[in-house]
Symmetry: C2
Subunit: 502 residues, 2 copies
Amino acid sequence: MPPKEAYDWLKAHHVETSVLESMGALLHWDQSTMMPGAGHGHRSEQFAALAKLTHERRSDPRIGDALAACGGYWDERDPIGVEAANVREWMRAFERATKIPSDLAVALARAASDGETAWKRARPDNDWKAFQPYLDELIRLRREEAEAVGYQGEPYDALLDEYEHGETAATLEPMFRELRHEIVNLLDSIKGSSRAPDPSILNNDYPTSAQKQFCRQVAQAVGYDLKAGRLDATAHPFSTRIGPGDVRITTRYNEHNLSEALFGTIHEAGHAMYSQGLPAEHFGTPSGVSVSLGIHESQSRLWENLVGHSAGFWRHFFPQARDFFPCLKDVSESAFLFAVNEVQPTLIRVEADEVTYNLHVMLRFELELALLRGDLSTTDLPAAWDEKMRDFLGITPPDFAQGVMQDVHWSAGLIGYFPTYSLGNLYAAQLFEAASKALGDIESQFERGNFSPLLSWLRENVHIWGSRMAPRELVRKATGYEPDSGALIRGLKSKYAQLYGI
Amino acid sequence: MPPKEAYDWLKAHHVETSVLESMGALLHWDQSTMMPGAGHGHRSEQFAALAKLTHERRSDPRIGDALAACGGYWDERDPIGVEAANVREWMRAFERATKIPSDLAVALARAASDGETAWKRARPDNDWKAFQPYLDELIRLRREEAEAVGYQGEPYDALLDEYEHGETAATLEPMFRELRHEIVNLLDSIKGSSRAPDPSILNNDYPTSAQKQFCRQVAQAVGYDLKAGRLDATAHPFSTRIGPGDVRITTRYNEHNLSEALFGTIHEAGHAMYSQGLPAEHFGTPSGVSVSLGIHESQSRLWENLVGHSAGFWRHFFPQARDFFPCLKDVSESAFLFAVNEVQPTLIRVEADEVTYNLHVMLRFELELALLRGDLSTTDLPAAWDEKMRDFLGITPPDFAQGVMQDVHWSAGLIGYFPTYSLGNLYAAQLFEAASKALGDIESQFERGNFSPLLSWLRENVHIWGSRMAPRELVRKATGYEPDSGALIRGLKSKYAQLYGI
């Protein structure tokens, strides 16, 4: 096969696979939002048939032949050119897929499914011992996967690479160590402050119908295109790209709390704006796909925290919020801003504030790294968890459900996934700082309800690139330097110094 | 391959194909109800990729080999046994698919798509000449298809057989001739009656939110299982089976008219109850699939007309309707019943009443038969249409949009499809008469809101059989005699004699 023909075949094959795979996104969205209860059995059949089909297509041996034949088609001098990047990423994915023996892949899928089921059953009973053998099996299998895939430093790197290509335990440990040190110090200062927000401002009467309208209005105002999306309600909020022109988000409404739905909406809108900014003409190829979990999370956290919790944002939106919610009539803008930015160590990661959130993530990173290195056994994991909670956050979980068993991730075999949450925060701060430098007084743009300069900057510097560069390279190209924790630390310190007068 | 192994392979292959195909039902449902406008382009890609995949699977040459190898596996003495029926239907479908050359299949798909586009453009302009060449091409191609597939009587039979297996022009013509004669007479008597309903009763203030609740309540009361379904709003109502446990319906609300949404809901609920009654354990095989368009329509029309327009039904539901709709406060039950059963010749098939509806269908049947036989050219079709409208219904269309160009069917190449609508009415009446005989005083069961005996009877005599018998055989087994127009004529005569005092 001549190189051009091989390349064209690879492209057509992968695009068709992605189109078929994208039906899975609709199956999932529908299952969470619309499907009648009795539809679950058939929906599982649909997922299974589609997974079989796409697995066959992604491991089709003709991919290997075409990859071998397409060399020389693209311009070698442009490693981030569309063709070069596509071929590089197709090769990486195909190699990873073919290195994992199919019986290991099947065992992993089964262990993940069994693990999640066991976790769901054991968690309400605080029954660590019932869940432990499933976690042991998952760790064993994922170690096996790491050996099959290969690594330079240590087994953990092979798992992390799947979620955040190019990162390793060795790149993360120093960044996270510094971040943890600074955050623990900041948290101490905050605890020592005499100022405190009034959290009852947010826990008041917020009718769901008004929240729905307000959330739509905010999502649209920051740049989420509802003509190419939808906002629905689900128990567990998410964002999903069904295809170009169809990127949907969900949120969860609590009529006695405004934060949950509102910041959830902005978070998911951040994910969705990334998806809406991916180049549609490259759909189904690496150049048209989001690059990593960390970069995805950077977009959601940037909009949720650095935009949605900022003074400029609320100078614009508070008057509108007051029109929607009569309970805000006698609340001042500054009291409201302080309330949404309350810092308070809590037990549950997904409910944590912007400052303490990263401590939850680093705790998990350190523990899973120790598990993979063999420095910690699952028998000792619950005690290690509690010790780190005391160490980092100064609180002790009353039970496993609110401690070591709170997250679904490990039960589904997702080891190496957690650090991408903090990487997201770190990238977000670094990108936001660079955008602010480029765009001038960004807060006063927010104040005027003008979010499009920021979105355009993100489009040009992040979204449009798809997976043409590794995350680290993308951040360097956008900001001028390698990812580090500096911008995040600077941002948190300056913001909370002002709020808490420290 | 030993027979059992061949059979098992056929079953697994077809079930998997059906599971994949069922994602198309979700794509379609979502497109009509939920999808954002900008999602259309990608949705077309999804439909195309899925169609390609399922076509490949349905014409996989291994099917032919397995069919040849599985002979003798089932009990020859039981032709409607599950295995015998499955193999017979797999063979019939595979033969039809392989007899049609693939370039003809492609040409037909393209002509159907082009035809529909041309129709949509030409119809608002009343531009028959712009549409005519597309229809000519479709007729030419479908004649070619008929020759490829083969027939015993005439080419039309090969097309009709696809929608209503076992029926031919020769079986339909005498039934329809009798039906037309009787209905034209009945219509004359009705026109001569001094009684007339007050149609303003139904064209009043019917708030959409109340209609939504009432429609749900009625659909559920007659037996549509909402735990395994949904009711949503769409421009063009439909029912779709996404899989066992997930059969959804839609309707259209008009706040100044109750009939549209309500009878639309009951009609689609009738389709859906058939789908919900198909044996889930046979999903993806002929034994678990609806048998024909006519039988499907018999279920929707039975519930819409013979139940939903009956005196017993309204004795039960009218008090509830009054609670929902204040405009019914001073309306009597008998005036309301007469209003929903008004007979009035009109131009548009889909808006026609129970009596005149069949005249619209028979007009189309006679015209398409003449076109296929070469007795009529498309140049003369509009004049022939208008002549039959005068002849059957006594009215003349003012333009093509309300005449020969009103339906989408021919523009998409659906020739031989229309008669299944009248077959549905005819089967419905015959099945309803048999059920009434078996169940005793069915009207007084309705009066007490008890619809489950009728639904159970339909489950046992129709739904549960899937496609194990041809439609004609199914009706004979359920009612004791071959389909004819007797029950429909008897039912209409007796009902309208009472209402109109004729």
